[in-house]
C-alpha cells in the first residue's frame, strides 16, 4: 500500500507537532496499530473482517528477519488490500512488541523474546513514518548503518523502553518510540498511539471506499465515506421498494424456495423439501434441474445462485471466483431464463 504523504497536506504544512486530539492531525501511521487491528479488540468482529488469525501474524513477526522483511517491502508496493499474505507481510513489517487488551497471554510472552529483532523494526519506524514508502526502503538500509547517530534518541527513551519492557510481561502495553523533538510524557505518548490507531483505520477505510485512494486530507476522505454510506443506504431502500412492487406472491415465495434450496444444498442431499411449498409444480422442477446441474460442478459451498444473474454477479463477484467459474455462470444463466419462461 502506498504510504506516501497522502495526508501530506496536513503534516507538511509547517505546523509544529502539537497535541491535538481526534482525527484532526494525521501523519503517516507507525507500526503498532496494525497489530491492534489484527488482534481481536472488539470480540472477533474485526478479525472476522480482516480474516486474519492473530497467531499467524505473531509467527510471521518472529520468523521474518529484517532483511527478509525489507525484501518483501518492495513487493508490497501498491497492492490492493483484500489479500491475506500481503496483510501478513505488512504486519511483519510494522512489528509491535505488545498490544492492548490482549486476550491471548502467549503473544505477550512471545514478544518479549523477540524484542531484539524487533528493535530493528522499531528503529526504522520513525524513518518510515516521516518519509515515503519507497524511499523508506532504501533509508532503512542506511539507518541500520547509522544507528550510532540515534544514540541520543535511544538514550532519551531507553529509560522508558527498559521500564516498558519490564512491564511487558506483566501488562500489555503499547510501545511507541519517541521521535526527535517529541515530548515523552505519558499523555503525549498515549495521544500519539491513539492517533496512529486512527490513522491505520482511516487507511483501511480509504481502501474500502472506492475512489478514496487519491484523495489527500482527512476532511475530504470523511466526506467520501459519508457519501458512500449514504448511497448504500439509499440503494437498500430502492431495492426494497423494487422488490415490494414486484408481485407479492413471487417475492415471498421465491424466498422460501431459496431457503429450502439453500438448506438442501448445504446438506449435500437433494431431498424433496421443495415439494412442500405452495408453488406451481413446474417451477420446482426447473429449480431442481437447475440446481442439479449446479451441484455437479465445483464447490458445493458456492452460492447456488451464481449463475442466476450473470451480469450482476460478474460485476460484483469477480474477486471471489476464478475464471474457471465464469464458464459455469454463462452456461447456467442461459438455462434459467428459458425455464422461467415456461411457467410464467
Amino acid at each position: 500500500m502506498d504510504l506516501s504523504g497522502r495526508f501530506g497536506a496536513r503534516s507538511g504544512n509547517g505546523v509544529p507537532f502539537r497535541e491535538v486530539t481526534g482525527l484532526e492531525s494525521l501523519h503517516l501511521g507507525g507500526g503498532d496499530e496494525f497489530r491492534q487491528m489484527v488482534l481481536p479488540e472488539n470480540g472477533g468482529g474485526f478479525t472476522a473482517l480482516l480474516e486474519l488469525p492473530p497467531t499467524r501474524a505473531v509467527e510471521l513477526l518472529h520468523s521474518s528477519s529484517s532483511s527478509s522483511s525489507q525484501a518483501t517491502l518492495h513487493s508490497v508496493g501498491t497492492l490492493t488490500f483484500p489479500s491475506n499474505p500481503i496483510l501478513m507481510e505488512r504486519a511483519a513489517r510494522f512489528s509491535v512488541i505488545a498490544t492492548e487488551q490482549n486476550p491471548n497471554g502467549n503473544i505477550s510472552g512471545e514478544t518479549t523474546t523477540s524484542s531484539v529483532p524487533s528493535n530493528e523494526h522499531i528503529k526504522t519506524e520513525p524513518a518510515e513514518t516521516e518519509t515515503s514508502d519507497q524511499a523508506a526502503v532504501e533509508k532503512q538500509n542506511n539507518r541500520c548503518g547509522k544507528r550510532k547517530d540515534f544514540d541520543k534518541k535511544v538514550k532519551s527513551s531507553t529509560k522508558k523502553k527498559s521500564k516498558s519492557s519490564e512491564e511487558n510481561e506483566k501488562l500489555p502495553y503499547v510501545h511507541v518510540r519517541a521521535r526527535r523533538g517529541q515530548a515523552t510524557d505519558s499523555h503525549s505518548l498515549a495521544e500519539r498511539a491513539r492517533r496512529e490507531k486512527i490513522n491505520a483505520r482511516m487507511k483501511l477505510l480509504q481502501e474500502l471506499v472506492p475512489g478514496c485512494d487519491k484523495i489527500q486530507g482527512t476532511a475530504l476522505v470523511l466526506d467520501e465515506i459519508i457519501n458512500h454510506v449514504q448511497s448504500l443506504q439509499r440503494q437498500v431502500e430502492m431495492l426494497s421498494m423494487r422488490l415490494a412492487s414486484v408481485n407479492p406472491r413471487i417475492d415471498f415465495n421465491l424466498d422460501t424456495i431459496l431457503a429450502s434450496e439453500n438448506g438442501s444444498l448445504m446438506d449435500g442431499s437433494f431431498n424433496g423439501t421443495t415439494m412442500q411449498l405452495a408453488w406451481p409444480h413446474q417451477v420446482m422442477e426447473t429449480e431442481q434441474s437447475y440446481h442439479h446441474r449446479q451441484l455437479q460442478q465445483p464447490p458445493p459451498q458456492q452460492w447456488p445462485f451464481d449463475g442466476l444473474n450473470q451480469p450482476v454477479w460478474g460485476r460484483e463477484e469477480n474477486q471471489d471466483h476464478g475464471n474457471d467459474h465464469n464458464s459455469l455462470m454463462v452456461g447456467s444463466a442461459s438455462l434459467h431464463p428459458n425455464q422461467v419462461k415456461m411457467e410464467l
Binding site: V20, F252, W303, L308
Partner: protein
C-alpha cells in the same frame, strides 16, 4: 475487504426467516407496507449477523424494535432479548454543547498566528465531518471515541455492501422472472 459468500448466505437465510414472519400477512396490499417489511427484516438480518458485537448492530436492532417489536423478537428468537431493553441515553449531547460554548469564550482571548488559524479551521472541519459520519452510522451518537467510530464505520460499510449485493440479485432474479 469485500463481502464473502458465506456472509451473503447467512444474510439471505436470516432475511428469509424474517420475511416468512410476514408471510401470513401477505394481504397487506399496500406497497409501502411491503417495502417496510422487506427493509426492516433485511436490516435486522444484517444486524444479527454480528451478534451484538458491534455498536451499530445493537443500535440498528433497537431502531427497528421501535417500529416492529414482534419481528425483532421473532428473528432474534429470544437470544438477545436483553438488547431490546438496553437503551442508552444521549446524555453526552448536552455536555458537548456546554463544552462548545465555553470553548468559544476561551477562543476569544487567544491571539493566533496565521498557520495556527489554518490548522484550527482544518480541525474544526474534520470535527464537523466526524459529526456528520456519526449521524449516518446507526448508533453513532454514542461513539465518542474516534477509533471506535471508524471501526464501526468499516464494519457497517461491509455489511451494507453484502446487504445491497444480496438484495440486488434477488430483485434482478424476481424481475427477470416476471418479464419472461
Amino acid at each position: 475487504m469485500q463481502p464473502t459468500s458465506s456472509m451473503k448466505e447467512e444474510f439471505l437465510k436470516k432475511w428469509q426467516m424474517g420475511l416468512q414472519i410476514y408471510r401470513p400477512l401477505i394481504d397487506n396490499t399496500s406497497v409501502s407496507e411491503r417495502r417496510k417489511a422487506i427493509k426492516l427484516s433485511a436490516d435486522v438480518a444484517m444486524a444479527s449477523l454480528r451478534r451484538g458485537t458491534t455498536c451499530w448492530s445493537r443500535a440498528l436492532i433497537q431502531k427497528t424494535a421501535t417500529e416492529d417489536n414482534f419481528l425483532v423478537r421473532q428473528m432474534l428468537s429470544g437470544i438477545k432479548a436483553e438488547t431490546l431493553m438496553n437503551k442508552k441515553l444521549p446524555k453526552v449531547m448536552c455536555h458537548r454543547k456546554i463544552v462548545r460554548r465555553s470553548k468559544k469564550i476561551l477562543m476569544r482571548r487567544k491571539s493566533k498566528s496565521v498557520s495556527e488559524e489554518i490548522a484550527a479551521k482544518a480541525r474544526k472541519l474534520v470535527k464537523r465531518k466526524t459529526q456528520g459520519l456519526r449521524n449516518v452510522v446507526p448508533g453513532g451518537e454514542f461513539m465518542n471515541n474516534d477509533v471506535l467510530l471508524i471501526q464501526e464505520t468499516l464494519d457497517y460499510i461491509v455489511s451494507l455492501q453484502t446487504q445491497v449485493n444480496v438484495m440486488r440479485s434477488i430483485v434482478d432474479a424476481a424481475e427477470a422472472g416476471i418479464e419472461r
